[in-house]
């Protein structure tokens, strides 16, 4: 878990986490576009009728968050807002259910669909936050250690 200096990508030891962050950025943009386009449909199936604008605001938030993840040098600061957004989304879904319990299936489907991404968000945020900000130490040279 180390930074590389002068590079937008982090050290080789955490390149998998960096790739996961980029995937979450792309996912965030796609989800946001979906919410902007189908805000009305989503609102109708999750008990949020009359609040289509809220779904679209969330969509805009997702797009903005995704772009910040993709274009920032260090995505750590922008993964945590995704986790906060996940909490906000969950609270809104529960609120929608309390407004109109007949849409329970829509709410359940929404929860099941986003749960893996929520886990990935939390994992990625914790992993990136656990990194040292010190530059990578130079690789030790063991090129002369044949032994035979």
């Amino acid at each position: 878990m180390r930074y590389k200096t002068n590079e937008s990508q982090r050290g080789q030891a955490d390149s998998a986490t960096f790739r996961l962050a980029q995937f979450l950025g792309v996912f965030s943009i796609m989800l946001g576009v979906g919410e902007l386009i189908w805000g009305g449909v989503i609102a109708r199936h999750t008990g949020l009728e009359g609040y289509e604008w809220l779904v679209r605001v969330y969509g805009a938030r997702e797009i903005g968050n995704g772009l910040l993840i993709l274009f920032s040098k260090d995505p750590t600061s922008w993964i945590w807002p995704r986790v906060i957004g996940d909490v906000l989304d969950a609270a809104t879904l529960i609120w929608g259910y309390t407004r109109d319990p007949s849409h329970v299936m829509g709410v359940v489907i929404a929860f099941v669909a986003v749960t893996p991404v929520v886990i990935a968000d939390i994992y990625c945020a914790m992993k990136l936050s656990g990194e040292s900000t010190k530059p990578l130490e130079p690789v030790k040279d063991y090129g002369d250690r044949s032994g035979i």
Partner: protein
Amino acid sequence: MRALRWYGKEDVRVEQVPDPTIEDPRDAIVKVTSCAICGSDLHLYDHFMVGLEKGDILGHEFMGEVVEVGKGVNGKLKVGERVVVPFTIFCGECDQCRKGNYSVCERTNRKKENADKMFGHSTAGLFGYTHLTGGYSGGQAEYVRVPFADCTHIKVPESLTDEQVLFLGDIFPTGWQAAAQCDIEPTDTVAIWGCGPVGQFTIRSAILMNAKQVIAIDRVPERLAMAQAAGATTINFETQSVVEILNDLTQGKGPEKCIDAVGMEAHVSSTLDSVVDRAKQAMMMETDRPHVLREMMYVCRPAGTLSIPGVYGGLMDKIPFGAAMNKGLTFRMGQTHVNRWTDDLLRRIEEGQIDPSFVITHRMNLNDAPKMYETFRDKKDGCIKVVLTP
């Protein structure tokens, strides 16, 4: 005396404990002059192996000077002699020992009933490696009681340094046995997963056994550089496709011999199976992460051999046994029958064919052991092998 004791996950401490004493006529007491942290000690440090108790003394790679012997040693070992102690304790008399299968000695596991329950039948006693294998105190200490000491020792000449012979107790014969189990022929390509200490010795063993091509797989640049220094072709699995490159280097046929020097804690990479393994391990639905085994079974040439020196502890899922069966693969594995190989390996060291000290990257005092466990586990500071002096 001072000794390194285990107290829980990532919790090891150097503490004062009572000096060991002769408990059985076949015992000896060895004053430790050098000891090492082994990759398999990390399975204990990370608490992936069951059967340790709080306060157990770790360490199974050590050497020193004999300071006391029991009456039953019968002159086979004398006070003042310099010995490397093999990590497998063996009696030399049971059916298995007479066949040279020292790591499955039938008599040295004093807590046999535990191993019988876990494995079906008991294996040999091991130093500092859980109560499944006898619960014997280990060698990361100033003194060690060596049971069955009339057999369990390797005498080493004064002309060789500790660093040249220390690894005869574990990683050198382990790497050698891994390669020997493959019955390497001069036309063979040998692929070795893992360039940690055992992997490094496996690479050199395969080269000394005249393999046509040795391919080493890891992701840590320092380890890959050390593998390359011996003459291996290297693959960085984080940036390259292991299966594609192995096939490219073997005209699309796959390596004849594949060796797993990784074991139960395979790196959780971007592959789906390794992530699923880690999640299942965390939920106690699986004890081991067998990504390397799956990859070997998939890429190995039909009628090839898989050799497994890497330590596995229990149960694993999604093993492509259909591929293994249909391709007619041979599996060979096991803890190392250390003394089966050490006469030959000591000769090779004396003749200058190999200097095992090449692998040492950190030399520290026993007091620094807790910090060095972490450094070694996290592969910090280019750490490949730690040697401690009490």
